[in-house]
């Protein structure tokens, strides 16, 4: 559960993003605390994935600030930003696994590039993380040889292998069957619990599977924060947000 005594790891202040000529986010204020799993929900096209990409500055905000452990990311030089990004783990919606590498090399990649350990240690940790997600035997295979669910689990292993302080998951159950989706969310919770002080942020439409995993929810509607709190607080949320949780709002249209 969200504990307000936990320190704020990441804060967005007045974040606005114009993406490809369209205002996607408008004055978004969000806080992510250590040891909590935050679910970001909202109708399709509301700006959830853009918000997630703005957190490690993969997208540069038009206005506003992203503050990581007290440091405004916009003030960091290139080297400082690279160091700050090492705090993040990112699971992309489309897996974003490197086609030309084996599964094992994909998972070991952040460790090798980060220079945190030697090659043998990187391989050992990558193999262990693959075993955690149940894919030890897929290590020598290439991503093209895997199913969607397996790719997602490899992406999850890669996103968490370096024990990131802030783990970002963009639609981890997209295109997966219900059983695999449940498994992915369980793995996310396990990964979160094994990394001390980790903050996790999940963007998804899959409210049912987010409920047991997320401590807090942020609802984005039309590029603005429409709700920020626990599910128990939904009573004070606007009807559009309640509709999201009841599965009755798709792409901004109430069903």
């Amino acid at each position: 559960m969200t504990d307000l005594s936990h320190r704020v790891r990441l804060r967005c202040e007045g974040l606005s993003v114009d993406y490809r000529g369209r205002a996607v986010l408008d004055a978004v204020d969000v806080e992510i605390r250590a040891n909590e799993v935050v679910g970001i929900v909202g109708p399709g096209g509301a700006g959830k994935s853009i918000l997630l990409k703005t957190l490690p500055r993969l997208i540069v905000p038009t206005r506003g600030r992203v503050i990581l452990d007290g440091t405004d990311l916009a003030t960091l030089p290139r080297v400082g930003l690279a160091a700050a990004r090492e705090s993040f783990g990112y699971l992309f919606q489309n897996y974003a696994l490197f086609d030309f590498m084996t599964v094992l090399d994909n998972v070991a990649f952040p460790l090798r590039q980060g220079g945190q350990c030697d090659d043998a240690e990187a391989i050992r940790r990558a193999e262990a993380r693959l075993a955690d997600v149940g894919l030890a035997r897929a290590a020598p295979q290439f991503p093209r040889e895997l199913s969607g669910g397996m790719k997602k689990r490899v992406a999850l292993a890669r996103a968490t292998v370096a024990d990131p302080q802030i783990a970002l998951y963009d639609d981890p159950s997209a295109g997966l069957d219900p059983v695999t989706s449940s498994r992915i969310f369980k793995l996310i919770r396990q990964m979160h619990e094994r990394i001390p002080d980790c903050a996790s942020v999940i963007v998804s439409h899959d409210i049912d599977r987010m409920r047991p995993v997320c401590d807090r929810f942020i609802a984005i509607v039309d590029g603005r924060v429409a709700f920020d709190g626990r599910e128990a607080d939904l009573g004070r949320a606007p009807p559009t947000v309640r509709a999201i949780f009841e599965g009755g709002l798709v792409a901004g249209v109430a069903l």
Binding site: K53, P56, L58, R78, A82, A83, R85, E86, F88, Y90, F92, Q93, N94, Y95, A96, L97, F98, D99, F100, F109, P110, Q113, G114
Partner: protein, 260 residues
């Protein structure tokens, strides 16, 4: 629509597109130079590219070069036989193959095979968020993806040109012996006596310049892809056209500089 819409506007759009491409490729070159001093790039990825770009291109370059040499002999054979000037065959073949036809044809083959492949690969990495994944892992895509490709293309196209020159001569000698009945040793001896070192170095300089332009242009189009699979197709097509144009332009400029 007014007449200006039919005349001035397309010229303006084309000029804008050319300037945008030249500017984009120049920016890539500038950022490569910044990454090279001091050298900061991925060694493993550079080795992978050297193999992919160079070693795997060798067969197509060898085949192209063999035919270039053979065609030069066939094209000049009629006049050589008619005038009896067999001693000029080696010079004619060497001059055209080393300085002009060899670099252009091998450059175009390389651009078609490696440049197009590079644009398509980088474009696919962009649309499947693999480039974003690199950035999320605190890795500069310029240093990890572009610099190794630049080094591999410049170095390997230069080496492939030397290999191509060698096989063009083999193709010419074999054709002279087999189809025209001219002793291949006469052709080789004549070639050596012709002192074509300037033409040979000109061809190698052209190859190095082609390597630079093919890498910068193909990386520029690859990394600026937008619009999914259709965008990758468009970028690859544009990359092939721009590379071919750049090859002819560089060929002209280097040839002209050698005449000064």
């Amino acid at each position: 629509m007014s007449i200006a819409d039919w005349t001035v506007a397309p010229v303006g759009r084309a000029t804008n597109y050319v300037l945008e491409t030249v500017g984009g490729a120049s920016m890539i070159l500038w950022r490569i130079m910044r990454a090279l001093v001091p050298p900061r790039f991925d060694g493993h990825e550079t080795w992978r590219q050297l193999d992919r770009v160079g070693v795997r291109s060798a067969p197509i370059v060898i085949v192209t070069a063999l035919f270039v040499g053979a065609i030069m002999v066939i094209q000049t054979a009629f006049y050589v036989n008619k005038t009896g000037a067999t001693s000029l065959l080696g010079y004619g073949v060497g001059f055209t193959v080393f300085a002009e036809i060899g670099p252009i044809l091998i450059g175009l083959m390389f651009s078609g095979r490696v440049g197009a492949n590079n644009t398509a690969e980088l474009g696919t990495m962009v649309v499947t968020e693999q480039v974003d994944a690199l950035r999320a892992l605190a890795i500069d895509p310029m240093r990890y993806l572009v610099v190794p490709r630049f080094i591999a293309m410049m170095l390997m196209l230069t080496l492939l040109m030397v290999l191509g020159d060698l096989f063009a001569i083999i193709g010419a000698a074999a054709t002279a012996q087999g189809l025209i009945g001219l002793d291949w040793r006469v052709l080789i001896a004549n070639l050596i006596e012709s002192h074509l070192l300037d033409e040979l170095t000109m061809g190698i300089v052209k190859a190095a310049c082609f390597g630079v332009s093919i890498s910068c242009i193909s990386c520029y189009f690859g990394l600026s892809v937008s619009g999914g699979a259709a965008g990758v197709g468009r970028a690859t097509n544009n990359s092939v056209v721009a590379n071919a144009t750049a090859i002819f332009l560089i060929d002209f400029l280097v040839g002209w500089l050698y005449t000064l």
